[in-house]
């Protein structure tokens, strides 16, 4: 029983963290260009910069 006093707040806190992170991601336009993100992995980084 006493474990619940710790576990429930921890679970809620972790859920809230996820929620806050999702809000942050939305605010920073992380979901604006989903198809682009899939394409960008294919770009070869050329070693132009030292």
């Amino acid at each position: 029983m006493s474990g619940l006093a710790i576990l429930i707040p921890v679970a809620l806190l972790m859920g809230l963290c996820g929620l806050v992170f999702f809000f942050w991601a939305m605010r920073n336009d992380q979901f604006d260009d989903l198809d682009g993100a899939a394409q960008r992995v294919l770009i070869d980084e050329e070693d132009e910069q030292p």
Binding site: M1, I8, A11, L12, G15, L16, G18, L19, F22, F23, M26, D32, D33, L34, D35, G36, Q39, R40, V41, L42, I43, D44, E46
Partner: protein
């Protein structure tokens, strides 16, 4: 127009400009554009958005939009300057819904965890503690995530109407209030999980609906061409400067190059040329205009440069008359009630009276007001209008996605509903039944070498005739010849040297009454005839519409001769020389005689008709006004998507009706349980998602509907 944002890195203010680049197709294009732009001095950063086919460039004020556009074109991509995103506000509303959905999801999962332990036998202090925890999570979650429903319900009630948000809001508020009372008095049943889950499912429906609208609007936004974002204005010192359309003033003198659009109404003060007025009047043949003649904004200068004294700009141009007509015509459509709201008109009173009856019955049966209220809330929760709130948007989103893959962008769900009802199709001619751009008719008159030279010359020019010739030749797999000294002589054409021979593609010596172009190689001359052709499968599309029970006819602003040519080829009735007002009247006449009219049109002159019709479709080559006014836009050259979208829309409504039937079936099974007081929060928590999953699963069957 351009958002000016304070620079975080640069010393002075940086500007963000946005361009539509439809040709972005792969990762290579992304890196080519970004690397090509990022190196240049004065450009701070550039970012390609692959999904919307747009490039956002952060740059110093020393670059203007036109230079940046040329810079992108030098990298090998056609680009169009985009005004600041006019849809930003619309997108904001979907973002708000997604946030509400995330919060509801968070609340639902946590409350469900607590509820599961209550259902599996927690009693006494533990149960009370878990109920309190649930309340602690649920109340802020409902307050935040329920706002879209509460505000909409309050709005409806204020005007004495009811929509589907009214029963939802009442159900949620009652369930929450009662659960709170249960919690405070240490009762056994709390419906926090049910209330939050209901919110979650309904929000999921709203988010789907919003995302579908955004996706189509973004696609259309990328298509929008700015007819003329500005003009080259001749100053007092005879120097020309670029002035944006909104800064143009009457009495300025603007220079309009061949192939350029007019940004304002005006009178020609020097030069003479032919103008393509098809966007304004529907007239397909070029109109000659000389000194002293009036030319209108939105028309295209075809043959030679002219200087125009501006008489009206912006709001005062003849375009604004059309805008006024469109506003009036659009009134009728705003009375359309979506199928979910129509169902809610019957659904809400039935559900409310059922719940009320249950309450009254149990009160008389002596169950006590507390027990009676619990049962009434169970009825409200179990009859959650998931079929209305989730199934309808789910079906429409899947159908719109299937149509999108076939090149039709439907702006919203109500458009699909209206599309399924049409029984009469009206077509504009120029740009709708025809392609709207000239196609060379006699390419066979050229030898292979001549074709290659023509292609090389045509590629170097941006004149609409050159574009027509170029696309005609590219379709024949012709390789361009190697030419030296390619030059554009304004108003005359393109010249170059082919080996030792002078070659030229330009104005024919003898002027024709339709579009033509002359190729000369040394002393050999060939005249190419160009015509605006009927779309390749217009006849099949009209036959298909006929099979679907739609009669078709043409209504065009063009003269009777060119209209009858098309109407005879396609074998349908036609009305010629129709003004925008005439088109609206024709639609009103048809509507009054009981028809639901589908208008297919592209030009500025079709705008009012597109807004007046029951539903409207525009081709992707349409004017901005046409695309804004239409409910759907198709991007292919073929006219078949019009028939396809009607087929898919009808199939969608079938599925929607099936979903209603499923929902009613579910209610017939579940409501008696609730009425007899046998529904506990546990049963509600199982039954609700089950019914939602079934209707969503049914909606997913539409995925293959557009094949």
């Amino acid at each position: 127009m351009n958002a000016i944002t304070p620079a975080s890195t640069g010393p002075s203010q940086s500007i963000v400009s946005r361009f539509a680049v439809p040709a972005i197709r792969c990762a290579g294009c992304i890196s080519k554009i970004e690397n090509g732009l990022n190196g240049a001095p004065g450009i701070l950063s550039s970012r390609v958005n692959f999904s919307t086919k747009q490039v956002a460039i952060t740059h110093l004020p020393e670059w203007d939009d036109d230079q940046l556009k040329r810079k992108i074109e030098n990298l090998g991509f056609e680009a169009q300057i985009l005004a600041d995103n006019p849809l930003a506000e619309e997108k904001g509303s979907t973002d708000k819904l997604i946030r509400a959905l995330a919060v509801a999801g968070f609340g639902m999962m946590n409350i469900m965890l607590l509820s599961v332990s209550v259902w599996s036998g927690a009693t006494g202090v533990t149960r009370d503690l878990f109920h309190w925890l649930s309340a602690l999570i649920a109340i802020p979650v409902i307050a935040y995530a329920g706002r879209p429903f509460f505000t909409s319900a309050a709005m409806a009630l204020r005007y004495g109407r009811t929509n589907m948000d009214v029963p939802i809001s009442i159900g949620i508020l009652l369930a929450t209030g009662l659960s709170l009372y249960e919690t405070a008095t240490g009762g056994a049943h709390a419906y926090f999980d049910g209330a939050v889950m209901l919110l979650f499912f309904l929000l999921a429906g709203r988010v789907l609906d919003g995302m579908m609208r955004d996706r189509a609007r973004e696609g259309i936004g990328a298509l929008l061409k700015q007819t003329a974002p500005g003009a080259m204005v001749i100053g007092n010192d005879r120097k020309t400067t670029w002035v944006a359309a909104r800064d143009l003033q009457p009495d300025m003198q603007m220079m309009v190059a061949a192939g350029g659009n007019l940004a304002a109404d005006g009178v020609i003060i020097s030069g003479s040329s032919s103008f393509d007025c098809s966007l304004m009047t529907g007239e397909s043949e070029p109109q000659p205009r000389g000194k002293g003649d009036l030319v209108l904004a939105g028309t295209l200068n075809l043959s030679s440069p002219v200087v125009v004294r501006i008489t009206a700009t912006g709001e005062d141009t003849s375009v604004s008359d059309i805008t006024r007509l469109m506003d009036e015509a659009g009134q009728r459509r705003s009375f359309y009630v979506r199928v979910a709201d129509r169902a809610a008109r019957f659904y809400a009173p039935v559900v409310h009276s059922l719940a009320l009856l249950a309450f009254v019955y149990w009160m008389f049966a002596g169950a006590g007001w507390h027990q009676s209220l619990l049962i009434a809330v169970a009825v409200l929760i179990i009859t959650c209008p998931c079929a209305l709130g989730l199934a309808v948007p789910a079906a429409q989103v899947v159908a719109a996605g299937a149509l999108l893959r076939n090149g039709v962008m439907v702006k919203d769900g109500s458009a699909l509903e209206r599309l399924s009802e049409v029984d009469y199709a009206l077509f504009d001619k120029t740009g709708t039944l025809t392609l709207g751009h000239p196609i060379p008719m006699n390419l066979d008159d050229l030898s292979l070498a001549q074709k290659q030279i023509t292609l090389a010359l045509g590629q170097a020019s941006r004149h609409p005739i050159s574009k027509g010739i170029r696309s005609g030749l590219l379709a024949l797999d012709i390789e361009p010849a190697a030419l030296d000294d390619i030059q554009e002589i304004p108003g005359e054409g393109m010249t170059a040297r082919w080996g030792h021979v002078n070659v030229m593609l330009g104005k024919p010596e003898r002027s024709e009454d339709h579009l033509s172009s002359q190729l000369s190689v040394g002393t050999d001359m060939v005249v190419l005839q160009l015509k605006d052709e009927i779309r390749p499968d217009a006849a099949e599309a009209i036959a298909e519409l006929h099979a679907l029970g739609l009669s078709s006819s043409i209504i065009s602003g063009d003269n009777i001769r060119s209209v009858s040519l098309v109407s005879r080829t396609l074998n349908i009735f036609a009305q010629a020389s129709a003004s925008p007002q005439d088109k609206v009247e024709a639609i009103t006449r048809l509507t009054d005689s009981g028809h639901k009219v589908l208008m297919v049109g592209d030009g500025l002159n079709d705008g009012p008709a597109l807004a007046a019709a029951h539903v409207s479709i525009a081709p992707g080559s349409a004017s901005d006004v046409g695309q804004q006014a239409a409910d759907a836009v198709f991007t292919s050259e073929s006219l078949m998507p019009v028939a396809l979208s009607i087929k898919v829309a009808r199939r969608t409504m079938q599925i929607v009706h099936q979903n209603f039937a499923l929902a009613i079936g579910y209610n017939i099974f579940a409501v008696p349980l609730a009425l007899t007081g046998m529904v506990t929060p546990l049963i509600a928590a199982i039954a609700m998602p089950l019914s939602s999953l079934i209707v969503v699963g049914n909606a997913l069957r539409l995925n293959g509907a557009a094949k």
